[in-house]
């Protein structure tokens, strides 16, 4: 079988790195305004890790298949590995480093992960927690099947799924109870 050299073929010449204009972007990362000049091909996951020291955002598969790099972009959970940094212009980003309150009090989801021992090696945990926080803003029901589906974008190779789902379920149900009692008060 003939193997094709990767640089053969009728493809346009890519510009060199020097020919490409750097773009200045302004964004908020965990509440702090940041301005940074990036090359268009720089990926948001790398910008967060290398320039803003948000190393809780993990590079697992780097192709949108594992969820370890999950962040909240304007409140919605996304994979930072499949975004160019230039796409985050004007956005409000939250990583695991910005999930707890300023005074250090853990987010209910972080506490639930501790309470349920919802991790083993811990590599996927940051992404799991941020993803679960994002899930709370989406219209999932609290039944076990729906919650499992809602967390399907985060893989755990240790297989800590039972405890992860127990933690997520606790927070989701507590939120539902709070909403119900608020509705009764109205």
């Amino acid at each position: 079988m003939k193997l094709i050299n990767r640089d053969e073929g009728a493809l346009a010449r890519s510009p060199s790195s020097e020919e490409v204009a750097q773009t200045s972007i302004e964004l908020r990362v965990n509440g702090r305004r940041q301005v940074v000049a990036v090359e268009p091909r720089e990926v948001l996951l790398d910008t967060l890790r290398e320039r803003f020291a948000c190393t809780g955002v993990k590079k697992g598969c780097d192709h949108g298949q594992c969820g370890a790099c999950t962040i909240l972009l304007d409140g919605r959970r996304v994979n930072a590995c499949l975004m160019l940094s230039v796409m985050a212009e004007g956005c409000d980003l939250r990583t695991i480093e910005g999930i707890a309150s300023e005074n250090g009090e853990l987010h209910a989801m972080q506490q639930a992960f501790l309470d349920h021992d919802a991790f083993q090696c811990g590599y996927c945990t940051c992404g799991q927690i941020v993803s679960a926080v994002g899930m709370l803003n989406e219209p999932w029901s609290a039944d076990p099947q729906s919650l499992a589906e809602s967390m399907s974008g985060n893989l755990c190779r240790c297989g800590a799924y039972r405890n992860i789902l127990a933690a997520v379920s606790d927070v989701k149900r507590a939120g539902n109870r709070r909403e119900a009692s608020r509705d009764e008060d109205l």
């Binding site: 346009a12 192709h63 996304v78 974008g153």
Partner: protein, 332 residues
């Protein structure tokens, strides 16, 4: 990843002229396909035109009762949209069965329509692949072809079309609205994706410089119910081995407006017209479903690794039709 020029467009006209200025350019919306393939060097555009600021991110109700889905509407927003859940249930189910919640928050409707093949030989940037490198051959033919297509294939390409959403759009007879410097046109969904034939590198009936600005869905057929069923290697976050979107209504106990579209088994979102004709005007029964399912898969060309897809798809069609009937009857 190779360097590329990056420009932001804020209107359709701007996007179209930016893209025609450069020979090898592509549009960026959700980025979930493009950035993946940029990292693999499978796509190497000289310029990327970001269209996320172009105003096309709403779902609008049309006078005829249909909807116009803006090109930039996120997959998750469309899946949870009230009218979509009520009138186009198979579309909501197809969207929710695709990718992960994170990816659905990023991916757009137009990007999903333009999604590229998941064939491992296309993605490895090394093997012969007529889609990536025209004329180089097809490593999937005679290779490991467990995930590959059995319908609409050619001797040059057997890559499966990976989308779930597109299968439902095919069943609902959507139209893809494209705009270019020459004007606007609506392309029927069945004509939008091209069969590989002897040019697998040409995937769409869209001209250079044209931008998808929306997808038009005709009104739901009165009394019709729909369903999307998907079979895959694991229960979530996986591409289809086979899938079926079906829809029909019952008029005086007989099937009307039957629609069957298939995913995971074909080189494009696949309408099973003959199977639909076989259902039309007949009383629903499991024998009839079996007959339709057999017709849908007639002419399948299998490889040793993917012959299982024929009975798998037939079974899915039969089950989907039975569920659609339950839903039709539950409406009354």
């Amino acid at each position: 990843m190779k360097p590329f020029h990056y420009e932001r467009a804020s209107t359709v006209e701007e996007a179209c002229s930016m893209s025609t200025e450069s020979e090898e350019s592509c549009f960026l919306a959700g980025g979930t396909t493009l950035i993946d393939l940029l990292k693999l060097n499978v796509m190497r555009p000289a310029k990327v035109v970001d269209v996320r600021n172009v105003d096309m991110d709403t779902v609008d109700l049309l006078e005829d009762g249909g909807i116009l889905i803006g090109a930039n509407v996120r997959n998750s927003d469309l899946a949870w949209h009230q009218k979509v859940r009520r009138d186009y249930q198979a579309l909501s189910e197809a969207l929710l069965s695709g990718a992960s919640p994170q990816l659905r928050n990023m991916a757009t409707v137009a990007g999903n329509v333009m999604q590229r093949a998941r064939c491992p030989y296309f993605r490895d940037n090394y093997s012969p692949c007529n889609k990536r490198s025209p004329g180089s051959g097809c490593a999937a033919l005679g290779g490991y072809a467990r995930s590959h297509a059995v319908l609409g294939t050619s001797e040059h390409c057997i890559a499966t079309h990976p989308s779930d959403m597109c299968v439902a759009l095919a069943a609902f007879e959507a139209k893809v609205r494209v705009e270019g410097l020459a004007g606007t046109r609506d392309i029927p969904f069945s004509d939008f994706h091209l069969l590989p034939g002897d040019r697998p590198d040409r995937e769409h009936a869209i001209d250079p410089g044209e931008l998808i600005t929306g997808v038009v869905l005709p009104p739901n057929v009165e009394g019709a119910s729909s369903v999307y069923l998907k079979s895959r290697d694991r229960a979530s976050y996986e591409f289809a081995l086979a899938s079926a979107a079906v829809s029909f209504a019952l008029v005086e106990g007989r099937i009307a407006a039957a629609r069957i579209a298939l995913g995971g088994v074909a080189t494009k979102p696949w309408r099973a017209f003959e199977a639909e004709n076989c259902l039309e005007g007949n009383e629903p029964s499991s024998e009839l479903y079996e007959e339709a399912a057999a017709l849908a898969m007639e002419g399948a060309i299998t490889q040793p690794d993917n012959a299982y897809k024929v009975p798998l798809a037939r079974g899915l069609i039969v089950r989907a039709l039975a569920i659609a009937r339950e839903r039709v009857e539950a409406q009354v």
